[in-house]
Symmetry: C2
Subunit: 591 residues, 2 copies
């Protein structure tokens, strides 16, 4: 017996029908929960005939067996769908408190199907679910929406995941925002929610997940907390400076994407660093549910206190746009949260627009225009003026302007703030990511820059395919637990296995943790192949493959993807076209 | 019903008799556990006819209702006895893992009585206790003792609290060391253990404390962890730099005791700061049991890794002795841990000896002699040469040399590393401390220097008596829970009350938390009055009251104790002689 509630809520918006199903224990054994569970359900039910913004696309909110427990970072959830930005299967992970609250309400997952006739929202309250009209909420920002729902249902402890105007207007880089500041940010999942006319999912519960073996579980929780506290990244660096601790580190390695990845050195980067945040706008740290790290920052700009900005946001609105004004970046960040936009894709797309403008292909702002980054966020969310073009993301924008190579994206999704010319393994990870340009599918910055768990030569391709594969599989598992990837700085598979086994009462070995991750990774690959993706899509922007880095500590480098990709396929047990072999699929139970 | 094991182990060493008693729930309601429990038992059983090193002095090891649970910092224990340094009732608190392990073994407390005929140690193993010969351990350091016991009982998970040579030789500043690096450090509690010929108490258990209301408890635990993580001191400062974060802060306020408190400014203090530790000898952070702060440091000196040094140790072996060599300080610290000495009293006593030597009253080393601080630790523990004099502590040393005013102590115990001329409230707290010179009975450094919970003017006496009283009562409660005082940077009484109520199933309000603390404080006062202490003993070294600070940011200041003390007595509900009134005692149920 496992200890979670074991119920899945299925909501058909077209018919306003709500049903409940029991979670199959076999799914837990093979896919755990969260991303794995969502991907499995999605693969079985949504074929290539269904487009991302079709009513038949599913939007799955999923938690895992550890969600809502004392396990470190257990407040998270993930959203699985087909992405309107990439066309791939997609999952987007979010922190905060919403995931835990869904578990407290008695559900492990919500599958949303169909399209409502008019704007509505779903209210899940302690074992009951109902659809409520959202006409009055439509058009509102995520903050006002959250407040209005709490007021309407008369409970300020309700946790709200919702879209802003960007999602409503089907902006391809729209996010789903929960707890006002946490985002299932990437891939345009907010547009899928908007296409369903689902403004919000509000949850509230007073139940608590049952742990199969409470005494063992508490011992493991303490061990994990201790490891996290004693690790230099999770115990010191992130608490002290937040994710923005990376700004100076990445810049000093000459890999901070600057002016649409034209260089990796941004001389005034320190004006936007975590250290500067501490010295200027920081009010205090903030922690998500059950998180011993507390990397989030409460900051004060123009008299108001909000959360953020995170490193990726700073990189993309900062150096990528040639901007070193921390207040402008913070304002752009806040607007993205309120209007419901992905900060990475938004910042990168503005940077792309700036380069297109400098090259005379677009009538837009130039690099360094700190006013523009704030204005263009607003315009993109509203599809207003130039924003109409930016709302499609950088790949479509650059293509429309006749210079597709200026979109710094993979499979249509914008790359985050690492110039992959100076970090070979991260380049391979980004090219082979099942959801496009992404740092989270395998965070090679750990070994290649931070030296965690141990430092490897960042300019070398040697050993990178093997390491990328291990990280990709491990992260697939962590996303399925559902825990924060930052825990992996301090924990190993054995700790995850112990937590999961004690929580569920099902025995998982540390080897199981890797096998399950590999199973999920391969299933996602199968999905994308079924959609028509091929090895040709496992690539990087031409700039990173062909234009040597012009200056700084990574000067002269390009990413040597072609040296790594064949080995990657081979070590994956895939053929040379990047297709899983029958033997591999059989081994993983996916035949 | 409350959830702890509820058993007390009583060990009569004279007759080698071990008995068990059940803990009275009424004691829990009125005194919680830990310090409160120990003090109550001690007050009822040990009168003024019994001297600290008499067999009849009790040595009580006590945990609290939260020990061994998931409550933050719940691994601690405390030791209650009559101090051979001060002659007062005394409790000394220690971190690490030993306290939790005692709880796991099924006991809340151990009362040790009598004197063994030959060296022995107590082994408490999962509900059973036995006395074992310690002839082979006698003379060994605490590290070798710990290893030898683990080997002898064939279990490396055994937790050991033991004395080193210093305790065996009845050195008045000897500590009891647990988990190799954590100390019930102050007051010479190690000498009491030595007088009983009890080398060690080794504990091992596989049980887990029962929580009365697990679901509520887990919610409160998470809330506390969140508050601790988000607080700037416990979430950022202490994890990043450990307690040594204070070195530069205290020095910059001109209150870092330098050369036996002759001045408060040590120009090269930064060479011994927490920041310098991070840049030089730090290997990683370390956390005690269930601690979300992890302030301890693993450091490497001369190729070997050990824990420490903490701020007070650095202050006392550093500035107090005019030494700015971090490696020498770290070696002195390590020797204190291994030989079983209190670093504060040891460092301060060496500083006192240095001033006596400079004034021609003693044939000893002068200020700045970094070799001497290491050598004198060794000699003191062994009562060798000059060490024989230092082993009596600075008060007896200075008196013997004819300059008693050069001992920087209160009630015979050395003051920690804060010059009280520039911190008025901390001066009052130190003068009125029931266990002598101590920063922990009321850590006024929080409000007066760090601005936590809010900054008050450190040179002013206004409002200080009230604040000191609140802090003294609160700490009495925290010591009884038994939690780490650092939690009080982030938590308020309401959080402690919630944790305690959920764990025990007994309803405690936040007002109860303060009343219990006040009850304990008054009972300790009654004990000391019964021993012959009076208002005359509520004082500070003459230097701090009469010699203005010669330089720096606190220049010209003295501590204005006499302006604060009458109000303190009055606000305490005591008469002008510092004796609790009948009304106050009645109110507290102590009549």
């Amino acid at each position: 017996m496992y200890g979670w509630a074991g119920k899945i809520l299925e909501v058909d918006l077209s018919n306003e029908k709500i049903t409940e199903t029991k979670l199959d224990e076999k799914l837990v054994r093979n896919f755990i929960g969260g991303r794995g569970l969502g991907v499995k359900i999605f693969y079985d039910r949504v074929g290539p005939d269904i487009k991302p913004l079709d009513p038949e696309n599913l939007l799955i909110f999923a938690t895992g067996p550890l969600t809502g427990t004392l396990a470190p970072t257990s407040g998270r959830h993930c959203v699985v769908t087909k992405s309107p930005l990439t066309g791939t299967i997609f999952d987007s992970q979010s922190g905060g408190f919403w995931g835990a609250e869904l578990k407290f309400a008695g559900y492990d997952a919500i599958i949303v199907n169909g399209q409502a006739k008019k704007p509505i929202y779903l209210f899940v309250n302690d074992g009951k679910a109902e659809l409520k009209g959202a006409n009055a909420l439509w058009g509102k920002g995520t903050h006002a929406t959250t407040d209005a729902i709490c007021k309407e249902v008369g409970d300020d402890k309700v946790k709200v995941a919702c879209i802003g105007p960007a999602g409503e207007k089907l902006v391809r880089i729209a996010a789903i925002i929960n707890d006002k500041y946490r985002a299932a940010g990437r891939g345009g999942v907010g547009a899928v929610m908007g296409s369903k006319r689902l403004k919000a999912v509000a949850v509230r519960g007073k139940g608590r997940p049952k742990i199969a073996n409470e005494s063992d579980f508490n011992v493991h929780v303490r061990e994990c907390q201790k490891l996290i506290k004693e690790n230099p990244v999770t115990g010191t660096g992130l608490p002290a400076y937040g994710t923005a601790v990376l700004v100076n580190i990445i810049n000093e390695h000459g890999v901070l994407p600057t002016r649409n990845f034209q260089t990796g050195v941004f001389p005034t980067a320190d004006k936007t660093s975590g250290e500067t945040i501490v010295d200027t706008i920081l009010v205090r740290n903030k922690a998500c549910f059950a998180c011993p790290i507390a990397c989030s920052r409460i900051t004060r700009v123009e008299g108001a206190e909000h959360e953020g900005p995170e490193y990726e946001t700073i990189g993309m609105f900062g150096a990528q746009c040639g901007v070193d004004n921390l207040e402008a970046i913070t304002k752009a960040n806040l607007l993205c949260n309120d209007l419901g936009l992905d900060t990475i894709s938004m910042g990168s797309t503005i940077g792309c627009a700036m380069e297109l403008s400098e090259r005379g292909k677009l009538n837009g702002p130039k690099f360094g225009d700190e006013k523009a980054i704030v204005e263009l966020v607003q315009k993109t969310a509203m599809r207003d003026g130039l924003g109409e073009k930016l709302a499609e993301g950088s790949a479509r924008l650059a293509k429309e302007c006749g210079m597709p190579e200026l979109s710094m994206s993979v499979k249509g999704m914008e790359l985050p703030a690492y110039d992959l010319r100076g970090i070979q393994g991260q380049g391979l990870a980004s090219a082979t990511s099942n959801r496009g340009g992404c740092h989270l599918r395998a965070y090679m910055i750990g070994p290649e820059i931070l030296g965690v768990p141990n430092l490897v030569e960042r300019f070398s391709t040697s050993g990178k395919p093997e390491t990328v594969i291990i990280f990709q599989d491990l992260v697939s598992t962590i996303d399925s637990l559902v825990l924060c990837e930052f825990t992996a700085f301090a924990l190993e598979t054995v700790q995850y296995a112990k937590l999961l086994s004690a929580a569920t009462g099902i025995e998982f070995t540390d080897e199981d943790m890797m096998t399950i991750g590999e199973r999920i990774w391969n299933l996602e690959r199968l999905y994308n192949l079924r959609e028509g993706f091929s090895a040709d899509d496992d690539t990087l922007p031409k700039r990173l493959l062909e234009e040597p880095m012009p200056e700084g500590p990574s000067k002269g480098r390009v990413n040597m993807l072609s040296k790594m990709l064949p080995s990657y396929y081979s070590f994956r047990g895939w053929n040379s076209k990047g297709e899983p072999t029958k033997e591999k699929l059989k081994e993983l139970g996916l035949a």
